[in-house]
Amino acid sequence: MSAATKEGANTAPVKKSGDVILREIEAEYLRTDLPSFRVGDTVRISVRIQEGGKERLQAYEGTIIGERGSSTNRTITVRKIFQGIGVERVFMLHAPSIDSLTVTRRGMVRRAKLYYLRDRVGKRTRVKERIMTSGRS
């Protein structure tokens, strides 16, 4: 295809694909300070909470039992046992309300969703620890 067309190119300017534009916009809202984690890990999340005009941090620690979504829509479900009652909380990972997320324990699991933990009580709710060896993360 020779580009030499008479009096100005008879071609429309290249339109940027819509998906590319969407990814670009989302990228501005993604946070880069998140550590890598997997389902089964125990994480400690501090959440910014507005209370009577004041802001404070609330910590929440538990096991990640599921992860869904991508980009700005990515969430994790964190389960813990609080006063003998199972509590599950869903966090929007890229939300500015999340102050920090740290992995306190790596878990070794063979499922993407650990919903089976909901039916277990006591010692059986534990997740086997993943020992970090070189070459594997």
Partner: protein, 211 residues
């Protein structure tokens, strides 16, 4: 009354603003041009014709191409008019950008809704379905469409199966979340009619009761 702008729907996403997650539709309005200014004297009414959507020259008819060539504008696919009381500030060939709008403003967005063809009463009017089992033969049928001998006819406007979508729809009073003049993008809270890449017409919101 300020005029509006044309754009294409890019799609929806989620952004964060003031600590909250907001569902937004991204609209791309880059390259909008004033293609004609109509005045009371010349046309009997005042309006601004706006063009959007660069295309190849061969995509236009010769009259269309000539119309744009007269005002030295590259070939554009879509031309639409916006009525305005005062058009003195506009000249043909002028660029229009999304900076016409500002964050926090309310806008009306018009587009062609996604066509769903000839649809039944369940999909089209949210009718309930009949029982699926126990010998029922009435699954998705509309049911009774009215009384018998009196009135002896079906009332006009009765909800029945028919064409759904592919119709001009205006969604009113949408919140402008962000204006990105550099990339010609408009982020509007909520959904707008049409599929991706669909042509949209964005105007400042008409507020009923306002002067």
């Amino acid at each position: 009354m300020a005029i509006g702008i044309l754009g294409r729907k890019i799609g929806m996403t989620k952004i964060f603003s003031e600590g909250k997650a907001i569902p937004v539709t991204v609209i791309e309005c880059g390259g909008c041009k004033v293609t004609q200014v109509k005045t009371q004297e010349t046309d009997g009414y005042s309006a601004v014709q706006v063009g959007y959507g660069p295309v190849k020259e061969k995509a236009l008819t010769k009259p269309e191409f000539g119309h744009l060539k007269k005002v030295e504008v590259d070939p554009l696919r879509h031309l639409q008019e916006f009525r305005a009381n005062s058009v003195a500030e506009y000249t043909a060939g002028q660029d229009l950008s999304v900076s016409l709008f500002e964050a926090g403003q309310l806008v009306d967005v018009t587009g062609i809704s996604i066509g769903r063809g000839f649809s039944g009463s369940q999909k089209r009017h949210n009718f309930r379905r009949g029982p699926m089992a126990h010998g029922s033969k009435n699954h998705r049928a509309p049911g009774s469409i009215g009384a018998g001998t009196t009135p002896g006819r079906v009332y006009p406007g009765k909800k029945m199966p028919g064409q759904l979508g592919n119709k001009k729809i205006t969604v009113r009073k949408l919140h402008v979340v962000r204006v990105d003049a550099e990339r010609g993008l408009l982020l509007v809270k909520g959904a707008v009619p049409g599929h991706k890449e669909a042509l949209l017409r964005i105007v400042p919101a008409t507020i009923v009761g306002a002067k």
